[in-house]
C-alpha cells in the first residue's frame, strides 16, 4: 500500500490559547488546593483567631513578621504586568512592532521584579523550613508560585524573541501569554489576601 502525500492540514483553531487556558485552570486548582489546606490548618490551630479571639497573626511563629511592603509591591507589579501584556496585544493589533516587543520585555522584567520581591520577603522573614506547620505551608505555597513566575518569565521572553524574529502576525501566542499572566495574577491576589493580609 502506498500512501498518497498528505494534503495541507486545516489550521487549528486557537490551539495554543486553549492549551494555555487548560493548564492555567489546572494551576489555579493546584493553588486552590494548597490554600484550602492552609485555611483548614489555620482554623484547626490552637492559636487560630476564631478560637482565641485574638488577631490572626498569633499563629505565625514567634518573632516572625510578614513584611507588608514587598508583598504589596509584588501584587502591584503583577497587576502592572497584566496592563503591559494587554498593551502588547493592542500594539500588536495596531502593527506597532516596537511597542509590542518593548512591552513583552517589560513583562519579563516585571516577573524578575516579583521574584526579587519574594526573595526579599524570604530574607526578612528568616524562617527555617524545618520550623513547623506554618513554615512548611508558607514556603511550599510561595515557592510553587515562584515556579509559576519563572514559567511566566520564560514564556514572555520566548514570545518577545519570536516577535523580534519576525513572527509578528501570530497574535494567538500573545493572547495565550496574556491568559497565563491574568491567571497567575488572580492566583497571587488570593495568596496575597490569605497569606500576607489575613495571615
Amino acid at each position: 500500500m502506498i500512501a498518497l502525500p498528505a494534503a495541507p492540514a486545516p489550521a487549528p483553531k486557537r490551539q495554543l490559547f486553549v492549551g494555555t487556558a487548560l493548564i492555567s485552570a489546572a494551576i489555579a486548582m493546584f493553588f486552590g488546593g494548597m490554600l484550602a489546606i492552609f485555611l483548614k490548618l489555620r482554623d484547626a490551630s490552637p492559636l487560630a483567631p476564631n478560637v482565641t479571639k485574638r488577631p490572626s497573626h498569633v499563629w505565625l511563629p514567634k518573632g516572625v513578621e510578614i513584611p507588608q511592603v514587598p508583598s504589596n509591591i509584588m501584587l502591584i507589579t503583577l497587576a502592572f504586568a497584566c496592563v503591559l501584556i494587554t498593551g502588547a496585544i493592542v500594539s500588536a493589533k495596531q502593527d506597532n512592532h516596537t511597542s509590542t516587543a518593548l512591552m513583552l520585555f517589560l513583562c519579563a522584567i516585571m516577573a524578575i521584579a516579583t521574584i526579587n520581591a519574594q526573595a526579599l520577603v524570604y530574607k526578612r522573614m528568616a524562617m527555617s523550613l524545618r520550623g513547623g506547620t506554618y513554615e512548611v505551608l508558607f514556603y511550599t505555597i510561595t515557592g510553587a508560585f515562584l515556579v509559576c513566575l519563572i514559567g511566566a518569565l520564560a514564556y514572555s521572553l520566548t514570545t518577545a524573541f519570536r516577535y523580534l524574529g519576525g513572527r509578528t502576525k501570530d497574535h494567538d501566542v500573545l493572547i495565550s501569554l496574556a491568559t497565563y499572566w491574568y491567571v497567575i495574577t488572580a492566583v497571587f491576589t488570593v495568596i496575597w489576601f490569605v497569606i500576607y493580609v489575613t495571615k
Partner: protein
Amino acid sequence: MTTIDTRTEALAATEPSAAARSLSDIAAWITTTDHKRIGRMFVGVSLLLMLGVGVIGGLIGLERINPNGYVLDSGAFQQLFSLLRVGLAFFVVLPLTIGLAMAIVPLQVGARSIAFPRAALLGFWSWLFGSGLIIFSLAGNGGPGGGKPHLVDLYLGGVVLAIAGLVIAASTIAATVLTTRAPGLTLKRVPLFSYSALVGCVAIALTLPVLAAATVLVLVDHLYARSTFGGNAGVLQWTGWGLSAPAMLVYSLPLLGAIPDSISTLARRHLLQRPILRIGVGLAAVSAAAAVTQTALTLPARRHSFKTWENFLGAMVRYIKDTTPWLLFGALPILGVLIVVGLTGKTMATPKLSVKVLLSAATQFNLIGGALLMAGFALHAVGDIAPIKLAGTVYEEGVSILVGYSVVLLALGALTFWGPKLWGRRIDDKKALPLVLLGAGGTVLASVPMIILGFMKQPGYSAGGFDKQSATGVLNALSMAGHALMLATVGLFVLVALMSFTKGELAGDDPYDGQTFEWMTSSPPPVENFAVAPTASSSHPLTDLKPDGLNAPARTQTAKPAQTGALR
C-alpha cells in the same frame, strides 16, 4: 564527477542490520509523536500493570482469609494495600481511559494529529516514570506508612510526577476536541466518545492538581519538618481521597461515551436523543467532579418530626437541607450514567438488535461494563448515607474495585471495537466473548463480597480485627477469587489481542459500516491520519458520504481510495 557503486555486496554493506533496525524501531516508538502510538503505549503498559493489580488483590484476599495471622510480613500488608489503591487509580483506570481517548479521539474528530503531540509524549513518559518510582518505593518499604523515609519521599515524588503526566495528557485530548475538529464538526456533532473524553479530561485536569497540591505539601513536610501531616502515617489521610470514589468516578468519565458510540455503530443505527445523551455525560461529569470537593458530605441521621403543623414546616426545611446536598453530589451522577446507559439500551431496542450484534464481545463488554459502572456510581451514593455507618469499613474498597474493574471491562470493549482500526485486524469474537463472562464474574466477585462485608462492619485497610472463620472468611475468599478471575481475564485478553492483531483476519477500513470519521481512513491509519481533510455536515458524517447511508451492506473491505488516501 560522482560515481555510484551498484555492486550488490556494496549495497548489502550499507543496509542496516536486523539489530540496528530493531534499535531504530525502538527509538521510533520512544520518541514518537503519533497519538495512536502514544495511546497504545498508555493502554499496553496499563494492561500489564493491571495484571500486577490483580495479583495484589489476590494477595490481600489471602491475608484476609488466613486464620494464622499474616502470610507475608505484617508491615507489607500496608504496602500491598497502598499498591492496590494507587494501582487501580493511577496504573489502570486513568491511563486506560486517557490512552484510549488519545488513540481514538483525534481520528473521530477528523484531526491530522493530537494537539501538542510532544506534550502528549511528555505526559506518557512522565506518567510512566512516576509510576515506576511509585512501584519501586512501595516495593522497598516506602509509600504510605512505609518504614524507609527516603522511599516515602520517592513515593510522593512519583505520585506528583505521574499526576503531572496525566494532567498534561488529559489537556492535550481536551485541546484536540476543542481546536482540531474537522470543518463542519461542531461540538454538537462530535461523536459521544470524543464528547465524553473532552468532558472527562477537563474534569481530570481540574481534579488531579488538587491531589498534587496535597501531595506536594505532604512531601515538603515529610522532607523537612514532619510536623503537620502525620509523617509517613499521614500520607493516605491527606491524599487517599484521590484513590477512591468519587474521584474514581471522575477518572472513569472519558470512557462513558464509548458505550453508546460503539453499540450504535455495531447496530448500524443512529443514536437516539443525542442532545440528551450529551446532557447525561455532562451531568455525570459535573456532579461527580463537584462531589470530589464534598467528600466529607453525607446524608445525616436526623429524625424528622411531622406531628404538628409548626413541626411539619421546620422538619420539611431541615429535611430539604439535609437531603439536597446528598442528592446533588451523591445521587445526581447516577442520573447522568443512567441517561447514557438507558438511551443506549433504547437505541438497541428500537428495532430489536440482531443476535449476532447483541452477542458480540464489544457489545457485551460495553453493556456489562456500563451496567456495573452505573452500579458503582449508585453504591457510592449509598455509602454516603450516614445512618448505615459504612465509613471506615471495606465498603469503600468494594466500590473502588467495582468502578475500577468496570472501567477495565469498558476498556476491553473499546479495544475489541476500535482494535481493528488501530491494528488493521479483528479480534477473534469467539475467543473474546467468553472473556466477557469471566471479566463480569471477576468484577462482581471481587467487589460485591467487599460491599456485603462493609455492611457487616469489616474494617477497611486491615487484614485483622474481624472473625476470619465465619461467613466473613467465605466472602473474603470469594473476593480473592474475583481478583484471580480478573487477572485471568486481562491476561487472556492480552494473549487473544496479541494473536489477533498479528495474525488475525484483516479488518478492512470500515468493518462496521461506521458513521464517524475514524472509519473513513485506512486500518491502521497513516501517521497523519487522513490524506484528504474530512468535512462534516451532520453528527454521522461518514454515513452522509455513503450513497446508501446506513442501509449499505457491511463493508468488510476498504472504502474508496479517494477517502482513505491509500493505493492498494
